[in-house]
Symmetry: C2
Subunit: 760 residues, 2 copies
């Protein structure tokens, strides 16, 4: 029986947020603060012939301008330090070449944002244009221009990523039915609420302090230290509150280096904040691309073989391309059981905005393809699609994409529960008739699985330090970042639960790389799972120290003691107890030692599962798709904070609806210029667009690694919603869409095309 | 052979100080900051009949006013949490009674300091005057007004503190000579460079953040938490740089409570900074008082008995009166050996400014008396005063004032070395003649001893956490405060030395009670001694973890490894070595665990010693005394940073010269009004007034507790200089002064009196 976890305690971050008291990086004000701006390229591919800064420098209020000649020339990239195989190092702070429209070519520090912007306009850049490519098809042509000097060549970000299992030829030979299709996806952006923002200040001893909106403060510390040639204890990165990242803010952005360098040059603090437009131009998107899949089936639905070719468009730089390609491609070994698999993933440079890490990390794209193909196959096999998926669902003993054995039957549990909840078997009977009415309804479902933690056993490590103060109150020190997910609340719950104190007794110190333990960053659904387990370990160490002191004072064995709500009792002896405060108080003049505990957890990989069931209504006159209801069923092991977990699920569904129906950051294929870099033109679903969501969370397959059996739920909810909607649209109007987003004009033109075909 | 300690490495705090980059509490600027001011009483003893704030509240810009009806009525005081026997709890934040001229009776928060000051003037307080007492003599009279309701009564702060050893009557009976005298002292103030200043802010969750100039951030946290009824993890106290405290800033001051309460009331950050005048009015002074001593001597100089009565004037509140009285009185058991001792210390409330902790902590006053009496006795015995002191100097095996056995022969070493250095035996021969010239010269000497650490074995505890970052750089986390002494440099040296890395590799995190380990505060000469030892312990733990990893990789035993300058070598095997960075790097995919070490040290008490030798010149026409040279000889165990240690010694001597010759904060005995609350009227020696100081530091008696044998040197240098000067003046002009300060007018009147007597 737990007393703190599993309850939706009041989150520690929300009151600050609703009262405006929460401090974000952009709220930092320092005496003498300067404002920095980035001069961005207006060409997609070019060599820089010259940059004339004289007019800009003459502008009163301009304090410094940096171009490529002023900054260290170190190839860098991003992501957790020490460097990861998931990312490429192909970027300079400022280069002599431009590879996409909107890339930074210079930076200004001035006494106001307005002056800095004006100075950017006054900087004159002369370009020598280069031929540009905007699609993977063009980029892969033999005569395509080379965008980078580094890498395997042919505009590949990495050599093709290949996974094979079993004998694919034999599998297809045994098939009664072979289904194949090519699926494509647009370029959704994370569109986080808080724009990228950074404030940098150097102290007289050459120590750099950075306030920045990042998911990975220690990555920022490590990479800045490396590029600027500083020891790690000379770079301090501070993140208190943060307004979303969704993976994109795992990268280090140009402005973070430039802000540090401008502050160094001017000897004054400098602040650089993206405009909303810059979050599109200089931000990170999901990888657009195509997924071709071919699957063989037995008549009973058993999958005999699977082949796939994944091609992702990385944009101008590699960023997380390698990781996204590998994870997205390898995901196709699983979800639905198949012994014979051959997969190939490629990631290709183009002269378009940079694709990076984004919630779902490649799996959104590949499971979208797989789950529509399964729907198509079910129809051809004359089987119910949910039954087909249930039959093939991965389960205990199967091998996960990460090659770990899977435990439990989470996916089957989710599918079965969703079918029950929606009355799936009788869904056709409930459909409003006549079928030919203007408004047509349909049901669809999709599945997903996603691992908690990214690189189990390699370099991931959850760390925590727990300290009990002399009044029995507790301070948890964690390097994790709160993106807005309530992570620190969950970690405090875990600490309180393990320690035997009240939730309110635990304060969380985070967001200061000088003082909190190292953390890899907030991504890969691993904060609660991995850092949570480290908190549990650290709390257990403190508890042991407290109980040892209490045992001395009570003259019993520590093993006979239990602790709850800060009261220590002797098991089975009512009345024999003492408060934690008394236990740790000085006795015979000897004070308690430092009550410090530390935890380090190297994770195993645990998978969470979900099945999303969706009902849509299609207006056949306007092409408008309305999602009427969503029933997401998630299996995530032990729930720490039910409302926060449900919040993750609902947020993921909202983002997923946007990506499936309306969101696409579009680049003009003539000149590489983005066409909708604003919230006016880039369409996201708002609160009033949201359907009712009946979230169901199962705890049927607890992890053996996470705290109290918990698993992650950050990535999962954005994956299954897309194919569920696409399958529901097919169910409603009988038209199959193999590309997202699916905007009204495509619905209308597909309906018109079908009517034309029927008429012919 | 040490490589980092014992060297005067570049201090980490100085560059920030000289460039203006160092951040003091007063430099903190926050959005919406209000300014607070204290309305101070203009009577010395009165009951408050009423306070009319209506005019003040009507002033535009005034945001809140607090009087005694608005603040929690909790008796508090100060000093390290949990509460210490060294201090009294006799003060309310704001009371219904005024006990000294300048006491705070209300506080204002307004949009500017000027408005807050004006509002204070507009507050109308009606007093019911009470009879006031300004001297201990008046306060101890049977019909004296009672200043407090708490305490033992009779205006005593604590019951008389009595120490007896041996048989004093027998001792005096055995004496060949009995010498007695009463010695008195004025009221010097610490006059720290940085005025008291405090900034308070509450976050939306009710957490209080306090930037304040304090020696004891954890005391501030503990006492504020207690008085405001908050858990300790809801109060965060921040101190980065600090501009001196000298003991006074061990107390919590009225404005620190008021600042927190004004910020709570206004929901805005509030800043309160003392004017220089307020540092006098509302600050803390040394305890003025009288010390009566009677000593018996054998003809050969052996002391047979000692009796003393110490009476300290505590001012309006007790503050550190109990501690200062006990330590100052008990000090008379020692310095010069004596088996038969009877001492009584009393501490008395008066309606004068508050006396508190001040460098030397009561010992300045009592050793001043003892060391002049020894000089008087030497003359009567026909012995050289230095020889008399050397004969009686405490030594190995004697019992210290704290009842610990003393180790080593530090005091004898100091006296002997000083006699050598000054050519003491032949000093009279070097004296300029004729003796009757206008300018007369003389030599004097004084001795002292002072313990490192205040409450050994009771509640003192040095703590440290040391973390090695993944690049091998090191972060030391310490709760100690840097008053300007270079403490954090010394702690980094100790950490680097023990760990085997370079000094530059160690960064120090301090000054944030949320994250650093608990510390009792920077006082009692114990930072280097006690926290330093904890740093050494924490560093040793990290080193063991690093060596274990290196041993694995090098396939040798960790016991065979040594580490220096971040290189780990196999002892006796040249060439077999690896860097720390390589040792801690991930191997076989497994990263190093958190490299965290912690140290907690409960100190023994170690004593440092000194003898000061001084030459003065007295101008018999003006009464001016010029200190021509000082030769201080200090024995402090292992020196960590020679220049910083010498800086402590020189600073103490400068303060001591001031107290002995010119500094006295004077209260008008008619109405209790201070007469010289400014640097114009309160005369301190400036840099140009300083004599040459030839500092000699001995390391002949290392402590067995401190790091590498180090002992403290913070309190010591202010003690022996006073009697050395007084004895030198006697040597020069033959007039004995038993009271400090000794201003020119006293010299002149004493000379005139003697001439009158000689003429008669």
């Amino acid at each position: 029986m737990t007393s703190v976890i599993g309850k939706s305690v009041k989150r520690t971050d929300t009151l600050g947020k609703v009262t405006g008291g929460a401090v974000y990086a952009g709220d930092v004000v320092l005496p003498g603060l300067l404002h920095g701006k980035t001069k961005r390229a207006t060409v997609a591919h070019a060599r820089i012939k010259s940059i004339d800064t004289s007019k800009a420098l003459a502008l009163p209020g301009v304090k410094a301008i940096l171009t490529h000649v002023d900054v260290p020339r170190v190839l860098h990239y991003g992501s957790p330090h020490p460097r990861s195989a998931s990312v490429t190092q192909d970027q300079y702070i400022l280069d002599t070449k431009v590879r996409y429209y909107g890339e930074g070519v210079a930076a200004v520090a001035a006494t106001s944002e307005e002056i800095a912007e004006l100075a950017c306009e006054l900087i004159e850049v002369t370009y020598e244009p280069l031929p540009a490519v905007f699609t993977v098809e063009d980029a892969l042509k033999p005569d395509a221009p080379a965008i980078h000097e580094v890498g395997p060549g042919g505009n590949l970000v990495l050599p093709p990523f290949v996974v094979t299992r079993g004998d694919v030829e034999k599998g297809f030979a045994e098939a009664d039915l072979i289904v194949e299709g090519e699926y494509g996806m647009g370029r959704p952006t994370p569109a986080y609420m808080e724009p990228n923002v950074c404030v940098c200040q150097w102290d007289p001893l050459g120590k750099l302090t950075v306030w920045t909106s990042t998911q990975s403060p220690f990555m920022v510390r490590g990479t800045l230290a490396e590029v600027l040639d500083l020891p790690l204890n000379k770079v301090r990165v501070l993140v208190d509150h943060m307004g979303g990242g969704f993976g994109a803010k795992q990268d280090l952005f140009q402005h973070e280096f430039l802000c540090a360098l401008l502050a160094q040059r001017t000897r004054r603090p400098v602040r650089m904040e993206f405009t909303r437009k810059e979050t599109f131009l200089g931000g990170r998107t999901r990888h657009p691309g195509t997924v071709w899949i071919r699957q063989g089936f037995k008549r009973d639905g058993t999958i005999t073989a699977r082949e796939a070719k994944v091609v992702f468009n990385s944009g101008a730089y590699g960023s997380h391309g390698p990781g996204v390609t590998a994870v997205g491609t390898a995901a196709l070994t699983s979800l639905y059981r198949c012994e014979n698999v051959r997969l190939e993933g490629r990631c290709v440079y183009t002269n378009t905005p940079i694709a990076g890490a984004f919630r779902g990390y490649g799996v959104v794209q590949t499971y979208y393809a797989l789950d529509i193909l399964m729907d198509e196959a079910a129809e051809k096999l004359g089987l119910d699609p949910a039954e087909l998926k249930l039959k093939n669902a991965v389960r205990e003993g199967d091998v996960a994409p990460s090659n770990h054995p899977l435990t439990g039957h989470g996916l089957e549990d989710c599918i079965r529960r969703g079918m029950e909840e929606t009355g799936w078997a009788s869904r056709s009977e409930k459909r409003p008739s006549p079928k030919a009415a203007r408004l047509r309804r349909g049901w669809g479902m999709g599945c997903e699985m996603h691992g908690s933690s990214a690189y189990p056993g390699i370099k991931e490590q959850g760390n925590a330090v727990v300290r009990m103060n002399e009044d029995g109150s507790v301070t948890l020190m964690t390097g994790t970042t709160g993106l807005g997910t309530g992570a620190h609340t969950a970690l405090a719950q875990i600490t309180a639960e393990e320690l035997g104190v009240k939730f309110e007794d635990v304060a969380v110190v985070h967001g200061d790389t000088d003082v909190v333990p190292w953390d890899i960053g907030a991504f890969a659904s691993h904060t609660t799972f991995m850092a949570g387990r480290a908190c549990q370990m650290a709390a257990a160490e403190v508890k042991a120290k407290v109980l040892a002191r209490a045992a001395d004072k009570l003259e019993v064995s520590a093993a006979d003691l239990e602790m709850k709500d800060s009261v220590i009792s002797v098991k089975g002896v009512p009345g024999l107890s003492m408060t934690v405060r008394d236990a740790i108080a000085a006795e015979k003049g000897i004070p308690a030692p430092q009550l410090l505990g530390e935890g380090s957890y190297h994770p195993t990989k645990s998978y969470s599962f979900a099945a999303h069931f969706v009902e849509v209504e299609v207006d056949t006159e306007t092409g408008q798709v309305t999602v009427l209801q969503v029933v997401p069923v998630h299996e995530i092991g032990k729930i720490i904070h039910p409302i926060a977990a449900a919040g993750q699920i609902e947020g993921g569904i909202q983002q997923g609806i946007g990506h499936t129906l309306s969101e696409d950051f579009v680049v003009d294929h003539r000149d590489g210029r983005p066409l909708n870099a604003s919230f006016v033109d880039y369409k996201m679903p708002l609160a009033m667009d949201m359907p009712p969501i009946r979230t169901i969370i199962l705890e049927t397959a607890p992890s053996d690694g996470g705290p109290f059996g918990a698993k992650g739920v950050g990535e999962d909810p954005i994956i299954a919603i897309g194919p569920a909607i696409a399958n529901a649209i097919y169910d409603a109007i009988g038209v199959r869409f193999r590309h997202y987003p699916i905007p009204p004009e495509q619905i209308l033109s597909a309906l018109a095309e079908r009517e034309g075909a029927q008429a012919a």
